[in-house]
């Protein structure tokens, strides 16, 4: 009796543990199943590098290069904001702040990370976009640049908290060695701590990229939504995520348009997968390098 009970508990917990795996498999299967049929109508190369995205025209064109570029441009720009600010905050909070400052700053950064993306979108749409439009005298404030700013702010907490972890993994003994040899605080930080945390810091950046590239609601609200290859960062763009979100409702189920949206999702999934694998590999290597348990 007791044994059966024990077995049942074990089964229940095993089921919960494996549920993520099942969900992941399910998602992958659906993505491939629904995404691949588009390649019967359009070649893979044509699909990825085609420069016109007119899925509802007659005849339709399914070239997603503009939306890939849209994602790429916005992500890159966002990282120019998130990396310096996130890294700077991590360094200050972990290495320099007094305990009192740390007790304020850390929760603030975490709180920023907890704000729903719709609120960031709202903020970008109502405050940043009109501001840019009037200051830069551009036709619309809803453009790639606004997306960069808002997404950059959103990614700060990700970069900051992972970079902070990386700094905390640097053994205390390295700092002590540097101080004992007559190193001052800056030399210790720049020549010892940051290089030792280097791979952890690159993980922070990569995970920041995954966060930004997968963000949907905000870009849908602030980047203007034109599926064209932008000529400048002040042109409207439509990243991959917002393309799917905006068009899924109107695409007839089973139509080539429908399948092409799944194919975009598939490509996005593969991109983030690659980023996550790279991040994992780097952080593993780094932990080995520091002689920590993997």
């Amino acid at each position: 009796m007791y044994k059966t009970k024990e077995k049942i508990y074990e089964w229940i917990f095993m089921a919960t543990a494996f549920s993520s795996l099942i969900f992941l498999l399910g998602i992958i299967i659906v993505l491939f199943n629904e995404g691949l049929p588009i390649f019967k109508d359009v070649g893979v190369f044509q699909f990825i590098f085609g420069s016109s995205w007119y899925p509802t025209h007659i005849p339709p064109e399914y070239g997603i290069f503009p939306v890939i570029i849209g994602s790429f441009v916005v992500t890159l720009g966002a990282m120019f904001i998130a990396v310096p600010l996130g890294m700077g905050s991590a360094l200050y909070i972990y290495e320099m702040a007094s305990e009192k400052q740390r007790n304020i700053l850390k929760p603030v950064v975490e709180l920023l990370g907890g704000i729903p993306s719709i609120i960031f979108g709202f903020f970008g749409m109502v405050i940043i976009a009109p501001f840019l439009q009037s200051v830069l005298k551009i036709p619309t404030g809803l453009c790639a640049f606004t997306g960069m700013v808002v997404l950059g702010i959103m990614a700060i907490p990700v970069v900051c908290s992972i970079a902070e972890d990386a700094l905390s993994f640097v053994p205390r003994s390295y700092r002590e060695a540097s101080y004992a040899l007559g190193g001052n605080r800056w030399q210790t930080l720049i020549r010892v701590v940051i290089p030792a945390a280097g791979s952890g810091i690159s993980t922070a950046i990569i995970l920041g990229v995954s966060r930004v590239i997968g963000e949907t609601m905000t870009v849908l609200m602030v980047t203007g939504g034109a599926a064209m290859i932008p000529k400048s960062i002040f042109d409207p763009v439509r990243p991959m995520t917002s393309t799917i979100a905006a068009e899924m409702g109107e695409a007839a189920m089973g139509s080539p348009h429908y399948h092409s949206l799944f194919a975009i999702g598939l490509i996005l999934f593969l991109i983030t997968l690659v980023f996550n694998v790279i991040a994992e590999v780097i952080s593993r290597k780094y932990r080995i390098k520091l002689g920590l348990d993997v």
């Binding site: 390295y174 002590e176 060695a177 004992a180 040899l181 007559g182 001052n184 020549r191 010892v192 520091l290």
Partner: protein, 257 residues
């Protein structure tokens, strides 16, 4: 405490009290540490020997909420005075830690670090000092062909000798050893001990150790500390053979510790 008039006192502790927060860790320590000798600090865990050692190069500065009273004189100058440059002090007083702590850099980079942070750019000068110190630390023959390898690929004993060599590069006068063999095997330990004896002709050496035999083997003077007090301090031979204090005797014979 026995005093020998022929010796030069390099480090002098003058009534040192040390507090972590409100906890008193050192209780009025007075000690004269002679130049070109090895002085061992022994005693059970928590007796304050490492705390005392870390005062000598002011590593305790890194700990918040600690407080110090009394004077610690290095060549007659109180190292806690406001006009003492702690960076300069740490160049004069090197330290080797309990666990070998090479940087995750190449052997050469580890060695050159102390000179580079001093702002020295003359490559030839650095090379010379690096090679010279590796020879002094009896490590040169083992690693001369792999100076660009990561220091983390050396064995534990080699890493520890690298740390000793790294500290010699900046030409300290005093070297502090904080249980340098705690994580090493007996053979590596022997090499380090031989090295310490070798080095004392050039440096003043202070070593904290848990291992009483080690203190007996390498040191000229031994200080026995207990619960923050300096119980007994004198020539190693005398302290080990005819301890004056009952507690010293009990510790040495393994009645506690």
């Amino acid at each position: 405490m026995d005093n020998n008039l022929n010796e030069t006192v390099r480090v002098k502790a003058d009534n040192i009290n040390f507090f972590y927060g409100s906890k008193k860790a050192l209780n009025g320590i007075n000690m004269d540490i002679n130049a070109n000798k090895v002085t061992a600090l022994i005693g059970p865990s928590g007796c304050g020997k490492s705390t005392f050692l870390r005062l000598i190069n002011r590593m305790n500065d890194l700990i918040g909420s600690s407080r110090i009273e009394g004077k610690l004189l290095l060549d007659g100058k109180n190292i806690f005075d406001k006009d003492v440059d702690v960076v300069e002090l740490r160049r004069r007083v090197g330290m080797v830690f309990q666990k070998p702590n090479p940087f995750p850099k190449s052997i050469y980079e580890n060695m050159a670090y102390g000179l580079e942070i001093k702002g020295i750019k003359d490559k030839k000068f650095i090379d010379e000092k690096v090679f010279d110190s590796l020879k002094k630390a009896a490590l040169w023959d083992e690693i001369k062909d792999r100076l660009n390898d990561s220091a983390l690929r050396l064995s534990g004993g080699q890493q520890q000798r690298l740390c000793i060599a790294r500290c010699l590069v900046v030409e300290p006068e005093v070297i502090l050893f904080d249980e340098p063999c705690a994580s090493l095997d007996p053979i590596s330990t022997r090499k380090i001990e031989e090295l310490i004896i070798e080095l004392k002709q050039f440096y003043t050496i202070i070593i904290v150790t848990h291992n009483m035999q080690q203190a007996a083997r390498v040191s000229d003077y031994t200080a026995f500390m207990y619960l923050g007090d300096l119980i007994e301090f004198g020539h190693t031979e005398k302290l080990f053979t005819v301890p004056k204090d009952k507690r010293t005797e009990e510790y040495l014979t393994g009645k506690f510790g």
